[in-house]
């Protein structure tokens, strides 16, 4: 049994190639069925997301997955060969662990991929395409992903401007639940940022825009209300978060407005997210107690700091994964000798049983004690003889020549054909 992984991702292949290999959700069951019908393929699953298409299998010798991919998707071998990666055994295990832990993702640390892997696994399992080997691998991969998430800060910092804004807002207000967001200006960027804030619990959306119609349209889509541009300052008193994105050439919110806001709001903090260029909020506002002003550059610099931080955390995560790969491969190796040990014991037991039957026929009537003695004696001999081969097998899993030792024992006892020689 060998773990095998073949696929393309955002780094190895351009979108045109990934598109051709992508498997839609409806197509997935068919692809998996065809996959496990391939000669030499014991188990298989397919992971297809917008950034990767991967085929993970447990194979015996003779399986050719490259040509399966080529024929299934109708892609020429030349195209395939220049974009595809292929891993076996330990390398495949490492790759699966890295993918599940989001180290192989376009945005390292994003949390979606784990869910996608889990879903792909569930589908393959539902079709009966996954048994013990892949099950062991995948359930370990999920545990590793969890470990990476709890022991490193890889997923904790945001790397896009909108998510940085949300994270900062949460640092100020705790939860965004029931906070009021005031959009001054109703551009696309403002809309995007507002959607992020709403997704994190912000309610009561107020919109003001030079063109009232656009403000009303946007407010309606958020279930909020539109307020005329002229009432901007009075409205601001009710807002916890003020998101500015107008084309005004002079700052709309200056220090004196801040002083007023602070008084009206009895020192409760206000978070200005200023994504307008030129800026809508005077940077001096940030010097007032309780006023927090972040402009586009500030958000961008936090985002890139976070990206650096993520890379550092990713290095720690790689170390964890290396350890886990070691542990898993060792465990798989020790599991691999279990069938040999069982058939060795079975083999000897068959011989013993046959010999005991023969001697019983010759001896005629024997007492129960005599029969028990024969049983005990023959069992004792077998156990003593088998002791060394079994312990050698068990302890050899870490030995460089483990496979040779394993094969040697199978041959010596003729375990490959399954029948004791007469």
């Amino acid at each position: 049994m060998t773990f095998h992984l073949i696929g393309v991702n955002h780094m190895s292949a351009p979108l045109e190639v990934r598109e051709r290999l992508a498997v839609s959700e409806a197509q997935l069951p068919d692809a998996i069925r065809r996959l496990v019908q391939q000669p030499g393929v014991d188990e298989g699953m397919v992971l297809s997301t917008c950034n990767r298409v991967e085929v993970l299998t447990s194979i015996r010798q003779g399986a050719d997955l490259r040509s399966f991919l080529g024929s299934y998707f109708g892609v020429s071998p030349a195209t395939l060969n220049s974009h595809i990666y292929e891993f076996e055994q330990r390398e495949a295990v490492r790759h699966v662990f890295r993918v599940a832990s989001s180290l192989d993702s376009m945005v390292v640390g994003e949390s979606q991929i784990l869910g996608q892997v889990k879903e792909a696994y569930a589908i393959a399992r539902g079709l009966g395409a996954v048994h013990s080997a892949l099950e062991a691998l995948l359930s370990r991969a999920f545990a590793v992903a969890k470990r990476v998430r709890t022991e490193t800060a890889i997923g904790s910092s945001s790397v896009s401007i909108a998510s940085v804004a949300v994270q900062l807002a949460e640092k100020i207000f705790g939860s965004l639940e029931n906070r009021t967001v005031y959009l001054v200006g109703a551009g696309k960027m403002a809309e995007l940022a507002a959607r992020h804030l709403i997704a994190h619990g912000a309610r009561n959306i107020i919109v003001s825009n030079r063109t009232q119609a656009r403000a009303e349209e946007l407010a309606e889509s958020f279930g909020g209300r539109a307020v005329p541009f002229a009432q901007m300052y009075e409205t601001a008193d009710h807002a916890d978060i003020i998101l500015t994105s107008t084309g005004a050439t002079e700052p709309l919110f200056r220090r004196e407005h801040g002083e007023r806001l602070r008084k009206e709001r009895r020192n409760r903090p206000v978070f200005f997210i200023d994504i307008a260029v030129p800026r809508n909020v005077d940077p001096d506002m940030n010097k007032l107690d309780g006023m927090f002003v972040y402009d586009v550059d500030d958000l961008q610099s936090v985002a890139s700091d976070n990206a650096v931080e993520r890379r550092k955390e990713a290095e720690r995560a790689e170390k964890i994964i290396e350890l886990e790969v070691d542990r898993f491969t060792l465990r798989m190796k020790s599991l691999a000798v279990v069938p040999t040990i069982l058939s060795l014991q079975e083999y000897c037991e068959t011989i013993r049983q046959a010999e005991v039957d023969r001697i019983r026929g010759r001896l005629g009537t024997i007492t129960a004690e005599q029969e028990a003695a024969i049983e005990a004696m023959t069992r004792g001999i077998i156990n003593k003889l088998l002791h060394t081969p079994i312990t050698t097998l068990k302890s050899s899993t870490d030995h460089p020549e483990a496979a040779t030792i394993h094969e040697m024992i199978r041959r010596l006892f003729n375990l490959n054909t399954g029948k004791p020689k007469e």
Partner: protein, 274 residues
């Protein structure tokens, strides 16, 4: 002495908790808080055992010496810490509380207990006990509110400096959470402090008459109470936060510290030497 033994066990555990908390501060890993919290938790269990044994030994819950009082205050602080942790999930106050608790427990456990129950005191021990318990809760609340105002200041600076999420301080609770911790502590502590002071005054009145009110201890306690009230008022009414609130809280804490220390030079409010 047995009570002292358990107190020393508690001290060791507090020490472990403190070291782990400091180490996690230094290394920036969360892992260590997994050791720190159970250690101080177990420590406070043993601490409680020592307090109970001490009370059984001396026949009263009221502390009979300054060291007994220190031990009790350390315990109340610890309980406050766990209450806040349970309610807000905030561990960062521990950075200020653990050193103080450790120091108080250390001081309490490094002196020999009186070999006999101390001389019976002049007023009802039950009253003394109530007075002490109320005041200690008030002190703890004030201390936590002080810590919260400092943490608020740090977090505010951190957010204004725009250094991002990678610095250690960015792992502090959200500004609103810190604010709520500080405010809740003030609100809940105030009645305890007030009733404690009233209980103390009644006791003193009964024993010394009005002479007592010229004592430095009572004057400082009075000052502390006034600052406490101002703090509460500005926070309640004007919503003072950040810098100004932190200055006031520091002032209140300083007054509380003086009032506590006044035990050492007060003529009337002191423990009878064993």
């Amino acid at each position: 002495m047995l009570p002292l033994f358990w107190l020393r066990v508690a001290l060791c555990l507090y020490g472990v908790g403190l070291l782990c908390a400091l180490a996690s501060l230094w290394s920036g890993r969360k892992v260590l808080t997994r050791i720190s919290l159970p250690a101080v938790g177990l420590g406070s269990v043993f601490h409680f055992v020592s307090i109970v044994e001490n009370a059984m030994f001396s026949g009263t819950w009221a502390p009979s010496s300054m060291h007994g009082l220190e031990s009790l205050l350390a315990f109340v602080l610890m309980m406050f810490f766990f209450l806040i942790y349970a309610r807000f999930g905030a561990t960062s106050p521990g950075l200020a509380v653990f050193p103080l608790v450790f120091w108080l427990t250390f001081s309490a456990s490094s002196y020999a207990e009186p070999t006999e129950p101390s001389a019976p005191m002049f007023v009802s021990l039950q009253w003394i006990y109530i007075h002490v318990a109320l005041i200690l809760i008030g002190y703890s609340a004030l201390f936590f509110s002080f810590i919260a105002s400092i943490l608020y200041l740090i977090q505010e600076r951190n957010l204004k400096s725009k250094t991002g999420m990678s610095s250690f301080w960015s792992r502090l609770p959200a500004l609103a959470t810190i604010d709520e911790i500080g405010f809740k502590c003030l609100i809940w502590g105030f009645p305890f402090m007030t009733l404690g002071l009233i209980a103390g005054s009644i006791l003193a009145e009964a024993r010394f008459g009005t002479r007592y009110f010229a004592d430095p201890k009572i004057l400082l306690s009075g000052l502390m109470w006034v600052v406490y009230m101002v703090l509460l008022y500005t926070r309640w009414n004007a919503g003072w936060r950040g810098r100004r609130a932190a200055y006031l809280a520091t002032f209140a804490f300083g007054a509380a510290l003086l009032a506590w220390a006044a035990n050492n030079f007060s003529q009337t409010h002191r423990f009878i030497a064993p």
